[in-house]
């Protein structure tokens, strides 16, 4: 492995100034489950690793009934799903937290790290999109926000400038009659990268049949995770029956433009995009009704 320096700053400003000095030669370390492996396998070249886990803002996990959820970029999955209240309020995120890697990975890996790694197949990104999460980004010029669906720009690429870092995610409190779900298809039952992933959320009218608002997102079918607006358009304002779900699934298949690789063929991934969209919507509805 190449040599690099390691620093664990205690404040956001310290981290920002380190990034300012090193630019693209520095990288924030969260759980390290991707970053350390990439550096070891010569897939990423670095001079400095900045451990984000001692910075309070990056480790914050809190919920406020007015402002909603604040999820620090370095909070490991285990803290999310072991928080009984938060995990129940954001079920799609909870699904993702419970799916990423095995136990050992979930004890380290974070939503923020997963997003910044910007893999098209990342499990947390479609879930974050389904939950309408917004990123808070800090740099020397202050902070700004970006919707998660606008964050990734290609495989391993995103909107973060060389001197910027992801601080946290912000998600509004869930509305009434809300349900969400993330699922993925993998050949085994754990420890695989998604062949296709799908996140969905539904806000239902009080009749619990009509869709007020819907979001459908897909992973591993394009260079970036996708928000499939066409699928939502097939649902909003309509009764959520088998026909509507099938139309949304067809929209998801149409939006998918995957590649063939060792994890699946193009044809199979398009097929799965439809299957998973259907299942994600059915489970979201079930959850909206339970709530």
């Amino acid at each position: 492995m190449q040599a690099f320096d390691y620093v664990a700053p205690k404040s956001l400003s310290e981290a920002v100034s380190l990034l300012e000095q090193k630019g693209e030669r520095a990288r924030i370390l969260s759980g390290g489950t991707d970053l350390i492996v990439q550096v070891r396998e010569n897939r990423r070249d670095l001079d400095l690793i900045v451990d984000g886990k001692k910075i309070a803002e990056l480790m914050e996990l809190s919920f406020d009934s007015q402002s909603g959820l604040t999820l620090g970029a370095c909070v490991p999955c285990v803290r999310f799903y072991e928080d009984a209240r938060i995990s129940q309020l954001y079920p799609g995120l909870n699904d993702a937290a419970l799916l990423i890697g095995g136990t050992q990975i979930q004890n380290r890996a974070s939503f923020g790290g997963n997003l910044c790694n910007s893999s098209p197949a990342a499990d947390s990104i479609p879930a974050l999109i389904a939950h309408s999460a917004v990123c808070l980004i800090a740099g020397s010029g202050g902070t700004h926000t970006v919707a998660v669906e606008d964050f990734c720009t290609g495989p391993g690429r995103n909107v973060l400038g060389p001197k910027e870092l992801l601080v946290s995610f912000h998600i509004p409190p869930p509305p009434k009659h809300f349900g969400a779900h993330y699922l993925r298809f993998i050949p085994r039952n754990e420890m695989d990268i998604a062949v296709v992933g799908c996140g969905a959320s539904l806000e239902m009218e009080s009749d619990l049949r009509t869709v007020k608002k819907a979001r459908v997102s897909l992973g591993a079918v394009a260079p970036t995770p996708l928000l499939v607006a066409e699928a939502a358009a097939e649902l909003e304002g309509r009764e959520l029956d088998g026909g509507a779900i099938e139309k949304a699934a067809a929209a998801a298949r149409a939006a998918a433009r995957p590649i063939t690789d060792m994890r699946g063929t193009e044809e199979y991934r398009v097929h799965l995009a439809g299957v998973l969209t259907r299942r994600a919507l059915e489970k979201s509805l079930e959850r909206a009704k339970e709530e």
Partner: protein
């Protein structure tokens, strides 16, 4: 005892009650292994030790035009750099690899480090020893290799085509014993014939003809290869190696490096799995040369990517099969062509695939054509019942298809056609006493098979399997201590609890608790020649050597007691750890008391035994699996699994069950998800445990086991090897279960979800 004699079952001890055999003691090396104290290959640490790393080819097929190591040598911390030029010229010398036979040395040397050509992605081309593994890695980046890239040959059938690019200009087909005149990727074509194939098909009411393919799969042991070498200035080389055979490593390194066997000691460390993959040498000669050049100990440990790219795997294969059966369900004929990938150099296990393919059945008219073919993949190694799963998968799938056509119970079909003692095998030798029918009967009668499977998209599959097992040479040295315990040094490395299954056989002879036998695995200077831990032979053959050692110690104790008591030794017996007179004068002494007495007198009681038993007896298994198929995603879930197997005699039933369960799970992985995925340039794309998908605990139910005991007349306790046959039936059992669940037959492995979906949509 003459170790090659066949035991008459009536005269063996199998009918007697055993005190030790059949019990489940805690293994002797257990505490070391649950406390982290056991020393495995990579755990070896020596003063001044350097770390070696290997530079590997980024190309699947290329000529190596030049290797420049100057910059690497100049890096701070680098102590030695080597290439294939540092090996003695192999010329036309050959190497004897025991179980694997006599092989030319040049390909073996070239596989360890390429001289003129790389023939697979990940092929070693140079190596560095440095003060830290990180520095060694940095140095690799400084080595400049110039390649002339050649088109890769990745598929066995394409490799056999007339106009295929050639891996080796000097490889000529051994065509049924004759050398062909033109170079080819086909290293050999051999054949077995029985009866009259045309008459056999003429007698059939139903004939099927199908093709079956197996992807290249890896053994997947969790411990990567590791070797540490210390080459002293006086010419003595000591090596610490994780290996299935310390003596095989000694032979290989001796031959590659031309170092006398007398100057080479191999100390086997604990071994973290092998399954056949830790028989060939890879980093061992490299560590040795680096140590000689650096004048310091050097440890070479592979990472997981290197393990996948450059070690193992087993053959990918193509099988074409035609079989005929009568309306009554009798097999009348079978004709098959087996083409196995050998990897970059000749030597696949196709011949074992041929021998095993129809062994569970009595087939009188048979033609088996076998092709050994080189392709641009790593040189294949043995993998648990090497060759058998590929061919038996085909036979077992087709038999199930016949059962559906005939509407016949698969167990009934197997009992009707099942092989028994005296039936002629494909190579013309009759079967000895085997447990094929008994195993099938036990499977038919078990609770799992008798319980109907219900629910949509569910199906039950059955398949049988056979593995030849092996005998070969094994040695032990046993010595009685003054406290009546026995230290037992044995030559077989212990991958799965065999220290204990061997010690139990000695303990049984002496009638002492197995805890009073202290077994250890010895280095090549300290015990007689012993072949690899492989071929399911250790409990059988090394166990037999321990049995002989026990018999020898028993005789010596009886003689000593007889001398003390001044009676004839025929009037003294030993039972349950006590030596006593049988002439009615009621004299007795425990082994412990006698041992103390003899020890004080300076009389050494011990034995050194070497055996080469021949009648190892084949192993049979029949498996039952219930699956559920998700028709939307193609995912197959294993609901229930029962493995039934003839163990001959289960010395330590827990470890017999463990072998069965482990073999089944490797077979399930092979069936469903495991495969080498190459891109069009011949680059291996999934060389990690993330993307080479071995089963996890969450993918499986408990694996139920039923041990059948049809004692092997070729062993004093009736032992048959148990380790390998359990990997043979699962692939076909799962395929047959899928067929019965959703009505589509899959003949290509793995039956990955996308293949299942594709098959389902082709059907509808």
């Amino acid at each position: 005892m003459n170790p090659t004699q066949t035991m008459d079952p009536a005269k063996t001890e199998v009918e007697q009650k055993y005190k030790v055999i059949g019990t489940r003691p805690i293994r002797h090396d257990g505490v070391d292994k649950v406390t982290g104290r056991a020393v495995y290959g990579a755990d070896v640490q020596l003063p001044g030790m350097l770390h070696g790393k290997v530079l590997r080819s980024p190309h699947a097929h290329a000529r190596v035009k030049s290797v420049n190591t100057e910059k690497a040598e100049a890096l701070y911390g680098v102590k030695a750099v080597m290439t294939a030029a540092d090996f003695p010229d192999a010329g036309s010398r050959t190497a004897n690899l025991g179980e694997l036979g006599e092989v030319p040395l040049k390909p073996m040397c070239d596989n360890v480090m390429a001289s003129d050509k790389v023939v697979y992605h990940g092929h070693a081309v140079a190596a560095v020893a440095a003060t830290s593994p990180h520095i060694a890695e940095e140095a690799l980046k400084l080595i400049e290799v110039e390649y002339e890239v050649l088109p890769p040959v990745m598929d066995v059938l394409k490799a056999m085509e007339e106009d295929s690019p050639l891996l080796h200009d000097d490889l000529y087909t051994d065509e049924l014993g004759e050398k062909s005149s033109k170079p080819s990727n086909v290293a050999s074509h051999s054949r077995h014939v029985l009866g009259d194939i045309n008459q056999g098909f003429a007698a059939a009411d139903h004939i099927l003809e199908r093709e079956y393919r197996c992807a290249t799969v890896h053994q997947g042991y969790i411990e990567p290869h590791a070797a540490t070498a210390m080459w002293n200035p006086d010419g003595y080389l000591t090596m610490w190696v994780t290996t299935q055979g310390a003596f095989t490593v000694r032979t290989s390194v001796h031959q590659i490096l031309e170092i006398p066997v007398s100057k080479l000691k191999v100390i086997p460390t604990e071994i973290g799995g092998g399954f056949g993959g830790k028989i060939p040498v890879y980093g061992e000669p490299v560590a040795a040369v680096l140590s000689r050049k650096a004048r310091r100990p050097v440890k070479v440990v592979m990472d997981r990517t290197e393990v996948f790219q450059a070690t193992g795997p087993t053959s990918g294969s193509y099988v074409k099969l035609k079989m005929g059966v009568t309306n009554e369900g009798r097999i009348t004929a079978a004709e098959t062509m087996l083409a196995y990938e050998a990897g970059g150099y000749p030597g696949s296990v196709v011949s074992l695939g041929g021998i095993c393919m129809f062994a569970p059945y009595n087939v009188e008219n048979l033609t088996i054509d076998m092709y050994d073919v080189v392709v641009n993949k790593p040189k294949t190694a043995a993998y648990r019942a090497p060759g058998a799963p590929n061919s038996e998968f085909a036979a077992e799938c087709m038999i199930d298809e016949f059962c559906e056509i005939l509407d016949m119970d698969p167990m009934e079909f197997r009992l009707k056609n099942g092989a028994k003692e005296g039936d002629i095998q494909c190579h013309g030798i009759p079967h000895p006493r085997i447990g094929c029918l008994e195993t099938t009967e036990a499977a038919r009668d078990c609770e799992h098979y008798q319980t109907p499977l219900e629910g949509p998209n569910r199906g039950r599959g059955v398949a049988s399997g056979y593995w030849v097992n092996a005998g070969l040479t094994s040695s032990v040295t046993a010595r009685l201590n003054g406290d009546g315990t026995v230290t037992l040094q044995e030559g077989s490395t212990d991958i799965g609890g065999t220290r204990t299954s061997i010690a139990m056989q000695l303990a049984e002879v002496l009638g002492i608790p197995v805890e009073d036998v202290v077994p250890s695995v010895a280095d090549t200077d300290s015990v007689g020649y012993t072949e690899v831990t492989g071929g399911s032979r250790v409990t059988f053959a090394t166990g037999w050597a321990a049995y002989n050692a026990g018999q020898s110690i028993r005789s010596q104790l009886i003689e000593q007691a007889a001398a003390i008591w001044k009676v004839d030794k025929d009037q003294v017996s030993l039972a349950d750890g006590v030596i006593a007179t049988t002439n009615g004068d009621s004299k007795s002494i425990s082994i412990k008391e006698l041992a103390a007495d003899l020890s004080q007198k300076g009389i050494d009681i011990g034995s050194r035994e070497t055996v080469t038993p021949q009648n190892h007896g084949g192993a049979y298994a029949t498996h039952i699996v219930d699956v559920e198929v998700d028709p939307d995603t193609g995912k197959v879930t294993i609901l229930r699994y029962t493995a039934v197997q003839d163990a001959g005699r289960a010395i330590h039933p827990s470890y017999v069950e463990g072998q069965m369960q482990g073999g089944v799970v490797q077979g399930i992985g092979w069936a469903l998800n495991e495969e080498y995925y190459y891109n069009e340039d011949g680059h291996l794309m999934n060389s990690s445990f993330l993307d080479y998908r071995m089963p996890t605990s969450l993918d499986l139910p408990m694996i139920e086991t039923i041990i059948v005991e049809v004692p092997n007349p070729g062993h004093p306790y009736g032992v048959r090897g148990v380790g390998e046959v359990p990997i043979v039936p699962p692939q076909a059992a799962v395929s047959n279960a899928i067929a019965r669940a959703v009505g589509t037959r899959l003949g290509d492995l793995p039956m990955s979800p996308q293949r299942v979906v594709k098959a389902l949509s082709a059907k509808s």
